[in-house]
Symmetry: C2
Subunit: 387 residues, 2 copies
Amino acid sequence: MRRVAVVAGGLAKFGVRQASYRDLIAEAGKACFAQAEDLRPQDIEGFILSSTMPERFAFQTHVAPMGAEILGIRPNRLIQRVENLCASGSCGIRTAYAAIAAGLLDVAMVLGVEKMNMPDPVEGFLHMAAAPDREWDSTQGLSAPAFFALVAKKHMREYGTTEEQLALVSVKNHDNSTHNPYAHFTKPVSLEQVLKGRPISSPLKLLDCSAMTDGAAAIILAAEDRAREMTGKPVFILGTGQAAGGNNLANVPGWTTWPALKTAAAAAYEMAGIKPRDVDVAEVHDCFTISEIIEYEDLGFCEKGKGGAFIAEGKSRPGGEVVVNPSGGLLGRGHPFGATGIAQALEIVAQLRGEAGDRQVLNAKIGLTHNLSGMATEHTILIYGRN
Amino acid sequence: MRRVAVVAGGLAKFGVRQASYRDLIAEAGKACFAQAEDLRPQDIEGFILSSTMPERFAFQTHVAPMGAEILGIRPNRLIQRVENLCASGSCGIRTAYAAIAAGLLDVAMVLGVEKMNMPDPVEGFLHMAAAPDREWDSTQGLSAPAFFALVAKKHMREYGTTEEQLALVSVKNHDNSTHNPYAHFTKPVSLEQVLKGRPISSPLKLLDCSAMTDGAAAIILAAEDRAREMTGKPVFILGTGQAAGGNNLANVPGWTTWPALKTAAAAAYEMAGIKPRDVDVAEVHDCFTISEIIEYEDLGFCEKGKGGAFIAEGKSRPGGEVVVNPSGGLLGRGHPFGATGIAQALEIVAQLRGEAGDRQVLNAKIGLTHNLSGMATEHTILIYGRN
């Protein structure tokens, strides 16, 4: 199996954008080529587009060839779109990784995009009902905020986690995103602002929840030998894992602990030959504040039930034991479904290259991305390193 | 790179089905497990769902975990959906192939499904407008029948191809599907019936066009060592190729010849170490009769421009030089987008195993699938063999 490295990346500005689905693709793709100095569109052999539901948000399926065409890419080895809701981006990276590792091609771009805000904001929200299981969950009102609120309540009851601890995740991630020019939210929020926010689904308030964000992100992966020709700073995929544990809420096997996360993490750690304590910087899926707390625990950054203390003691802040979501995460940077996993990867790549500017984690050598999907049912993990 | 083999497959009956998207998944998945004697859902490490637009046809995205759940599968290595319009099924097989070849997992199911007929037939057709490029093609009325009619006219003018030759493709494929109990259309059609059919887009008439079909198909792939444990008749993937050549019609580089098909075929033949004449049986993408004629030519089964003569001389019929679409193809078996590529693979597997019943091609050793997508812009090819 061949080793695979990231050679370049680029982002479209995240936010509520006066831009079309196509515009976002063009913006991220061009930014990516701008970083890949000598690489031209005709050098890209494979193009994967990660996107969740352009069929609803943009009345367009068959989006991969459209994306390639916009960027002047004519893939001669691989072309497809990958979807796995909130984890579509990480699934796209894994797909390109496997195809390159297996020798089907040498160079691929993965571009994640979602245009979620529609002219009528209500319409965008209505389309979101196509994401949870329609027959079992959506029609019962079991939206993502409702589910994660139940999880938060249970975690609070079982482990004594507090609303303040939840809120501190939001404060940290909004602080971090003030340093990220591509983030949706670039102003800090105070603990009081989070705690006094508009209730969404108790105990979650407005700033405990990620927002509807438009955005795109592109990454170029290459086989090791080609990667070393293209950049002096390749960042390698050292390990990956993925697991699923049910779909509709009645079949979710865990509430305050996520078995599929542990399965995916164990596989990724083993493949990379590292332990959780070796991770210097992580981008994890903070779709809601409670998610990040459970992820500290299930990724092995702290003991089970101690996630609330982990954030309260500053261990996931810049300068802490493991810096979590230096980009601002989903809460600060934003969460355009298809783009999130790729934006996570690009933050880790920037950190490992020492190019993260004001967000730089000192001497970061090992980085991890965790991309959740569904009702915390699927977990996708990638581990990156400089060597 | 590890070798990968097909170990089992199963189909849901194709047709206008009084069955939901979920029902079709269950039907194909169960049929697949029924063929894989000793394999249980818990043995499946990866699950890929191939589907084009359940977001529109079934108001549901995030369909891969739903499909896995319906079948009792809890993937602990890989979970995602793959979309590339009409070629979604073949893309799913390639994705599983690469992941197994690269060593990320040993056993995966790929399940393709599309529920295209809606209670109001007009609604289903309207959703089809999300498939071609919306800004350039759909809004100009450039539906697939319109495009392929233009291609047919040009091929007729350039090479003297006749409406009768086009019609013979439909006659052959409907003949073949009379022997396929899973086919949408199981009655033969006469040359006269095809030629006197209702005009769709001149010169294409009703029976020159594939229909709106519901259906599903599932396949299980495994690494060679595991495959040999599971079945005495593994069928190996020997080669694959894929290429794209534009998206919107103005950028399609060829009309009567498809450069991306040639690129994909050349890669697949080279990887498999075979020549076109070595192919005993092929399932090709006859979305319209003209497509199959051009595919004879661009796959190298005959000289350029001689596709009309190839069908007229019976060379693609049972007993001919290369038996094309013994299953009935898209015209006879039907074309539920996500399921087509997998149904193609299953026909080839049955043929190479000598289990194709009344459709059996004598002593078939090498089989090929060709799955087209878009305005003939993307081409996906897989080559299978017994060893």
